[in-house]
């Protein structure tokens, strides 16, 4: 790996937004392809952080801060990736379901997705089925990810899946669900494609699901 990519990866691991921005620009100017910067710089750095997290060497904020730097790098990189026809490994529409105001788990999942190279459209909390359906039409994601933290909102996921099915969009997207009161068997029962038992594994499961 060339020196500059190394620096990008390491700056990202340190969460240094300025350095990442600057070095990505420098690499582009130096003729490194956007795709190489993405994979061997940014995603490489995120991969290292992901490994260190799995090895219990770092905590989530350190991964989050790296992901924030990744986001910064992506802002610079995105037009170049588009121009070169490089696509993100996948696009995810994400939200906490209607009636549920829980935010933090969803935000963690968001960052894990970003760190794995997904493009994420975060619909926020208290998202009803219409908004999910609309977002599929508008953003054409491969994946819909829903969170629910209450026993009295988890069944809103069923409502969303039914709405997606009724509008004929079910074949276009994989649907994954997560949240404290959920289980694999609930996910199966409502017709979801996957269940993430934990925010930390959501992105891995998503990758498997779309073969990325």
């Amino acid at each position: 790996m060339s020196e500059i990519l190394n620096v990008i990866s390491e700056s990202l691991q340190e969460g240094d937004v300025d350095a990442v921005t600057e070095k990505v620009e420098e690499a582009l100017n130096g003729g490194v392809s956007a795709s190489t910067i993405l994979h061997e710089g940014l995603l490489h750095g995120m991969d290292v952080m992901g490994q260190r997290w799995k090895n219990e060497e770092v905590y989530m904020p350190e991964v989050m801060i790296a992901a924030r730097a990744m986001n910064a790098g992506m802002r610079v990189l995105k037009p170049h990736l588009l121009a070169a026809g490089v696509k993100p490994i996948g696009k995810v529409v994400l939200g906490t379901v209607k009636g549920d105001l829980h935010d933090i788990g969803k935000n963690l999942v968001n960052m894990m997705f970003v760190g794995s190279g997904f493009e994420v459209v975060d619909l926020g909390v208290d998202v009803n089925e219409k908004t999910f359906v609309q977002a599929i039409t508008e953003h054409q994601p491969q994946i819909i990810a829903m969170a629910a933290l209450l026993t009295t909102t988890m069944s809103e996921m069923r409502v969303v899946i039914e709405a997606v099915t009724t509008t004929g969009l079910r074949d276009q997207v994989k649907i994954m669900v997560g949240g404290a009161p959920l289980t694999q068997s609930f996910a199966n029962a409502i017709g979801a494609d996957a269940y993430a038992p934990d925010a930390a594994v959501a992105a891995d499961i998503a990758k498997q699901m779309i073969g990325a």
Binding site: M60, P61, I65, I104, T151, T153, D198
Partner: protein, 462 residues
């Protein structure tokens, strides 16, 4: 700004700081006294997987009926000397105060029945959900969402809910990020500026409703702050040391309820209750091993050391082999209370022994447990009440907690991973750098805390 200013601890003797007894016990209408010498169970519950709508309301009411009927029946069979039932409303039942009131009626009817027919003395705590977290809430202290909460309090109080509580969320808009990024300065801002301001307004209103309805302004909990950090720490997302320091910093925020006239019992899911009790002498609800149904924790025993009510936090109404889960939970609470009350009945020195075993069994293994030690809570509380403002107090809370944890680790009284110690240094450095000028701090944070979720105008900050 404070109505009552707690500048010293209510307790002078650590030996008196113990479960079941509070210096300022709370007497309920039916004569049941909380903190009057024995610890009592407080049962919590939620609905199973179902939606709450106009259409499902009959089912919803049936669920609550079944839960409370099951709990009262078991409490009677186990000859429980007293029972607190907490009705933590779900969002739709606060958005529609009339639903909350209807649920209260159903629950209260069963409780009345068991009191009259079987002599089971029970008290109902009502906890509306703080729907001001909804982005559509126009303002923290007025408008639709505020009104719905207050109507819920007033309506439920009239129907027999006697203890008024809430898990208020003022500052949570900032604090969620503070936890996710382990940003102790943001945490300080959320708790000491936004949180305490909100608590004052909120509790002035609740205290007024309590006075008007002849009920009891009980207390708040920093659940959305401290427990969020704790649960993330348990998943190893954030360091336990960070969660422990945040816990101590929530003390100043939750104390505001008492400053504005709340009298206890403090709500269950705020472990800062230990400090509240030390400072104010009012009784507290706590939750520990018997609340594992709601969340795992590292404070299963120590949480009981100074508790006056012993809670299970929350459990869905689903069937376990032994019965419906809330009934099962209540049985466990009752036995825990029985044991503690039996020890207490055989003398204060025995109660102290049990308190200390409860304490020592957890405190060495986890920083979050360590800061709940009665002696530690005493020392840190003493430091906190030296602070002049909420801002200053919260900063003192954080820094003193860091010191206590470091000393404990050095002395071998607390086992902390070196990774965790590193975070203590980080927190200390960040907190120490914060200006002492509150106004300057607010300006600085308002500048840097731009986010979609946080709107200073809702707090009347520009």
């Amino acid at each position: 700004m404070k109505k009552v200013n707690f500048t010293q601890l209510a307790y002078t003797d650590l030996d008196e700081f113990i479960y079941g007894s509070a210096l300022r016990p709370v007497a309920c209408r039916n004569g049941l006294v909380i903190g009057g010498g024995r610890i009592l169970p407080e049962i919590n519950f939620t609905l199973p997987d179902m939606l709450i709508t106009e259409t499902t309301m009959p089912d919803v009411l049936r669920q609550y009926k079944e839960i409370v009927e099951g709990a009262c029946k078991r409490a009677k069979e186990l000859e429980t000397p007293g029972l607190v039932v907490e009705l933590e409303l779900l969002p739709p039942a606060t958005y529609h105060p009339e639903w909350g009131v209807e649920i209260t009626k159903v629950v209260r009817n069963i409780m009345n029945d068991y009191e009259q027919k079987h002599g089971l003395r029970s008290v109902l705590r009502i906890t509306p959900v703080d729907i001001r977290e909804d982005k559509r809430s126009p303002h923290m202290w007025r408008g639709s969402h505020w009104d719905a909460i207050m109507q819920t309090f007033a309506g439920c109080a009239k129907e027999g809910a006697e203890l008024l509580s809430i898990e208020s969320i003022g500052g949570k808009d900032i604090h969620d990020d503070a936890v996710m990024y382990c940003d102790i300065v943001k945490s300080l801002f959320a708790l000491s500026v936004l949180g305490t301001r909100d608590m004052a307004k909120l509790w002035d209103s609740i205290v007024r409703i309590a006075a008007e309805t002849g009920t009891i302004a009980a207390g708040d909990t920093a659940c959305g702050f401290g427990n969020t950090a704790m649960v993330l720490a348990d998943k190893r997302y954030v360091p336990k040391t960070f969660a422990a320091v945040v816990r101590v910093m929530t003390v100043v925020r939750s104390l505001v309820a008492l400053e504005r006239g709340a009298v206890g019992p403090h709500k269950d899911c705020g472990y800062e209750g230990v400090y509240i009790k030390a400072i104010t002498g009012t009784p507290i609800a706590m939750e520990g091993k018997s609340s594992a149904c709601a969340h795992l924790s590292h404070v299963g025993n120590i949480a009981a050391a100074t508790a006056d009510l012993w809670s299970n936090e929350s459990v869905q109404n689903i069937k376990l082999l032994g019965g419906m889960a809330p009934t099962v939970s209540l049985e466990q609470l009752i036995y825990d209370c029985r044991l503690m009350n039996t020890a207490a009945k055989s003398g204060i020195s025995h109660a102290r022994l049990l308190r200390d075993w409860l304490t020592d069994s957890d405190s060495v293994l986890d920083p979050q447990a360590y800061v709940l030690r009665p002696d530690v809570a005493f020392r840190i509380s003493q430091a906190i009440v030296q602070g002049g403002s909420h801002f200053e107090r919260t900063k003192i809370a954080g820094l003193t907690a860091v010191n206590e944890l470091k000393q404990a680790a050095n002395a071998g009284n607390l086992i902390i991973d070196p990774k965790e110690i590193r975070w203590l240094d980080k927190i200390q450095a960040q907190l120490s750098k914060v200006t002492n000028d509150e106004e300057a701090f607010i300006r600085e944070m308002t500048e840097s805390c731009k986010s979609e979720k946080y709107d200073p105008a809702k707090y009347d900050l520009k």
